[in-house]
């Protein structure tokens, strides 16, 4: 069955991570495959090592055991804080990423404007980060990660600091960007509804040490919303499982 599928975008094979020689085990032989163009949400309570796993996939850190391979090479990463360069306008922030990718100077401006337009920010291109709202900054950060033009996009709780209305809008925008660009997205969150709203697949991780507890395949419907009954149903199921995992830490 799997033989007919294209090669996976990310392969995790028995990945374990321990910080320091005698530190606690953060990740315990995590194995997973993420298909090309898939939208996967990585969900778990604090201490499940989901951000650690993301850093390993990003190549920012090395696993203690096992192997991480990203078929397309390095991945683009977006963090919880937008981390825009405060001395550059929105457009220049994107242009800097284009420049580091090797895009010739003459093309950068047009390409940056295209990317900002993709996140509905063409009108704010010349504003500086401090003149943007939190949601706008995250969209600039999204445009900047798209500027890297890497097939895999890793997102580490990118909307956690936003208010609910803004987050809802960004879910819609991210879904649209994903459908338009065909990126493989690994989205780390501790928000169950967010995972159920966005993911084609939701991977629940247990905490201390981080292991894959369970996975859900979500029907990929175009009109899914955070209020949709199927999202609510799935959220309840995931939350029950998540609580079970958390209770195990009580003893």
């Amino acid at each position: 069955m799997t033989a007919t599928l294209p090669p996976p975008a990310i392969v995790l094979d028995g990945v374990s991570k321990r910080f320091g020689v005698n530190g606690p085990l953060v990740l315990d032989s995590v194995s997973a495959q993420i298909a090309d163009g898939e939208f996967v949400c990585l969900l778990g309570a604090s201490g499940c090592g989901k951000s650690t796993l993301l850093n390993l996939i990003a190549g920012l850190d090395q696993p203690t055991a096992g192997s991480v391979s990203v078929t397309s090479g390095r991945a683009a990463v977006m963090f919880q804080e937008s981390a825009l360069f405060p001395w550059l306008s929105a457009r220049r922030n994107v242009e800097l990423a284009l420049g580091l990718r090797g895009v010739p100077r003459a093309q950068r401006r047009a390409e940056a404007m295209e990317l900002l337009d993709l996140v509905n920010l063409a009108d704010a291109a010349d504003r500086r980060p401090h003149e943007l709202s939190g949601g706008m900054r995250q969209r600039v950060a999204l445009a900047r990660s798209l500027a890297q033009d890497r097939p895999v996009l890793l997102m580490d709780e990118p909307f956690a600091a936003l208010d609910a209305i803004t987050r809802d809008l960004l879910h819609a925008e991210l879904e649209q960007v994903w459908r338009a660009t065909g990126r493989t997205i690994v989205f780390v969150t501790h928000n169950v509804r967010e995972a159920a709203r966005l993911g084609q697949r939701v991977i629940l991780m247990s905490s201390r040490p981080g292991r894959i507890a369970r996975e859900w395949q979500v029907d990929d419907t175009n009109q899914r919303r955070i209020e949709s009954p199927e999202v609510a149903r799935l959220s309840i199921e995931i939350t029950d499982e998540l609580r079970k995992e958390i209770r195990r830490n009580a003893a």
Binding site: A58, L60, R74, A76, V77, F79, E81, A83, F85, P86, W87, L96, A97, L100, R101, D117, L118, N120, L121, D123, A124, R127, R128, P129, H130, E131, L132, S133, G134, G135, M136, R139, R144, Q148, I165, T166, L169, A172, E173, Q176, R179, A180
Partner: protein, 303 residues
């Protein structure tokens, strides 16, 4: 003409209209554009208060001179000081010394920046180097650079090299320390993003770390200029003659030798005035602009 009829299947590529307007509406609600006062009001706001204070101080001084009649050789009035400045100007001595000192101060400062910046970056980047050299640089900042004058005179004689050496010993440590402080305050997320975006170490330093550390670096430059100017005056007072040109410090020393207090006070006021003008005209606008662009300006008014 056919353009009007072509309907591109853009719905999948860009956002549909309603999502776009929703985003635009939310953006308008959540973000504020900074509105700045017109330039002349900002200029008046910065220049008027110190000028008014200066006028007031001069007036008070004049009133004191007229009312109390102090000894003119010990407590000359503002008129006498202005008069001696005027005659020094007409004799050509004042313009010459201002020109000489400013030129040296500026050149010394530029050399100090050229040495201090790469040195500061190296120290900020390489931990071991910083641990070894850092305390010495901080120590040099505490050591008054005038202390180098006797040594410099022995090494370089009464030449301009002596003056520049003292200026550098004063300014370089400030610039280095300012830059290191600036680099230390760079948020780690920014360097992490730089790495994720694929910047090499050199690119990271030039495109991310250096611009991100500008506020601290600029504070160091400002202090570096102050130290250059001070060290220059001290060097010019102590080391006169030889092939050393005639600067404001030399003018000060000449006034002392002639027991001409009006000239001495006039020169002090000139030195102080140059310091204030450089601060108001050069550093303050750049600093305001630097902070404003990052949303750090305390005076920014928002709608």
């Amino acid at each position: 003409m056919p353009h009007d009829l072509v309907v591109e299947p853009r719905e999948r590529v860009t956002a549909p209209g309603d999502l776009r307007t929703l985003a635009a509406g939310l953006d308008a609600l959540q973000s504020e554009r900074v509105i700045r006062a017109p330039w002349w009001r900002r200029f008046l706001g910065g220049v008027l208060p110190p000028v008014l204070l200066l006028v007031f101080l001069l007036a008070a001084w004049q009133v004191y001179t007229v009312v109390a009649h102090p000894r003119p050789d010990l407590y000359p009035g503002p008129m006498a000081v202005i008069g001696s400045l005027g005659s020094a100007w007409h004799s050509g001595q004042l313009p010459l010394s201002i020109g000489t000192s400013l030129q040296r101060g500026l050149l010394g400062f530029v050399i100090a920046v050229a040495i201090g910046t790469p040195l500061g970056l190296l120290l900020a980047e390489f931990r071991l180097l910083r641990r070894a050299l850092g305390p010495f640089i901080s120590g040099l900042q505490v050591l008054p650079s005038v202390a180098w004058v006797p040594a410099a005179v022995i090494w370089f004689g009464l030449t301009d090299a002596t003056v520049y050496f003292v200026v550098l010993m004063g300014a370089v440590p400030s610039i280095v320390n300012g830059l290191i402080a600036g680099v230390d305050q760079v948020p780690p997320q920014l360097t992490r993003v730089g790495t994720v975006l694929g910047a090499s170490r050199l690119q990271l330093t030039l495109l991310v770390v250096l611009p991100a550390s500008m506020p601290g670096y600029f504070a160091g430059l400002k202090q570096g200029w102050a130290f250059s100017w001070r060290s220059l005056m001290a060097a010019e007072i102590i080391a006169t003659g030889g092939s050393i040109g005639f600067g404001l410090g030399s003018l000060l020393q000449q006034g002392r030798e002639l027991s001409d207090l009006s000239s001495v006070l006039g020169t002090i006021i000139t030195i102080l005035g140059i310091g204030i003008v450089v601060e108001l005209v050069v550093f303050a606008p750049i600093e305001r602009r630097l902070l404003r662009r990052r949303g750090l300006a305390p005076t920014a008014t928002t709608r």
